[in-house]
Symmetry: none
Subunit: 219 residues, 2 copies
DNA sequence: GCAAATTAATGATTTATTCAAG
DNA sequence: CTTGAATAAATCATTAATTTGC
């Protein structure tokens, strides 16, 4: 069932009927240009499916086509093999690694930039297998979950202080508050907390995103 | 606890001053921009900052440390230059590119895997500068916005058929339905539609990796 | 006719939520 | 139950359409 478009070359399964593509009345600009036939052949591997950010990344598919000239598939393939070989499951942070990550977080780091990620990864690599994406994800998750925690504790505190909480929260919310599930509508609590978590003192410095990268070129 | 001085190179470039320039209204509505489309000035030589997925990707920071041995920064830098040179702003899809993408989408493709992305990018590259991430984002956005559209039209249809809609929707919802803004709480409509898109394979994470337990408790 | 100036689309990021390993 | 990984929703930001006053 998941096969469908994948079994063949990419373009072979273009809609046969010429009218189909125009059925979408979305945009205002629809020029008629012939579709480029031709299909970059490729070994029809049985693998297929599943696109995850991580995969895309590791395959370097995000680089411009120009660069793919350099990054050959063989490299990618072998690399993947290697990675597979060297331990297939999800990253399992060593205590030392977590220590360091938490120290960084505590120091104010939230979303390290690529260079930082590279460094961190390199450093943490001393304690065990790790990739940049692990570092990235860790910060993402940690930030989100710290925020959750804070939000929850804020509510609990409020609950403790004023016993009238049941009057303020609907049953759903009470439940969420209790198990931390917080399905949907967490945003509605937003007013309880400023957006900036960071319990950290003045050291929060690392707000290193004042300006944009703006791959903007010089017009 | 305060591992702050780990003597790594990690924290070297701390931002000097958070500066101002932020002050973004961050309100949900930024529609009133009084700023004329003047030439962007920026030009400040300060590089760095702002971590985006794209950056991380293009810097290949996601690759394992092992691979970073090969991927030197010089390459990345020059590459970036190249990209910047060749037309620095966001991707602006040519009609042909959109045609093809829509055809693929229409054909059932939703979240192309890395290999597919690579192919698509290569193909679309014939019509103009494009990167893998553009393809990825396009599918993400298109999927999401098609879903929105469908949801909205479903509501509209329902409105048309049963004139009792005003009794079912609160004012907010009516407004959203009308302008499609749908800020927050879109999820609450979820019951209207199954989560799975039409022919989407919905292939959830397919296990490419063998299991390999190696977890160390973090205490 | 044309720019300033809105407005509508949509590319790109960030945040919230879910899934699932262990 | 914790948390790494992934997806989806929400948000931000820029560009093309489009409108508007001249």
């Amino acid at each position: 069932m998941k096969v469908h478009q994948l079994t063949l070359g990419l373009w072979e399964q273009l809609p046969s009927s010429p009218s189909t593509s125009s059925s979408l009345s979305s945009s205002s600009t629809n020029h008629h240009k012939r579709l480029r036939p031709l299909a970059p052949k490729l070994s029809s591997s049985a693998v297929v499916s599943t696109t995850t950010m991580a995969e895309i990344i590791s395959l370097k598919s995000f680089n411009s086509p120009l660069t793919t000239k350099f990054a050959s598939r063989n490299v990618d393939a072998s690399l993947m093999q290697l990675q597979l070989q060297s331990g297939g499951t999800r990253w399992n942070p060593m205590p030392e690694q977590i220590k360091l990550l938490e120290a960084l977080y505590q120091g104010g780091m939230r979303t390290p930039n690529p260079v930082q990620i590279e460094r961190i990864t390199a450093e943490l690599g001393k304690y065990g297998r790790i990739e940049g994406k692990n570092v990235f994800y860790w910060f993402q998750n940690h930030k989100a979950r710290e925020r959750q925690k804070q939000k929850r504790s804020a509510l609990l505190a409020l609950a403790a202080s004023s016993a009238s909480l049941p009057n303020l929260l609907k049953g759903e919310e009470m439940k969420e508050l209790h198990d931390g599930s917080c399905k949907r509508k967490c945003r509605s609590w937003g007013s309880l907390e400023p957006d900036v978590e960071d319990s950290g003192p003045g050291d929060r410095t690392l707000e290193l995103f004042p300006l944009h990268p703006e791959w903007k070129q010089v017009g």
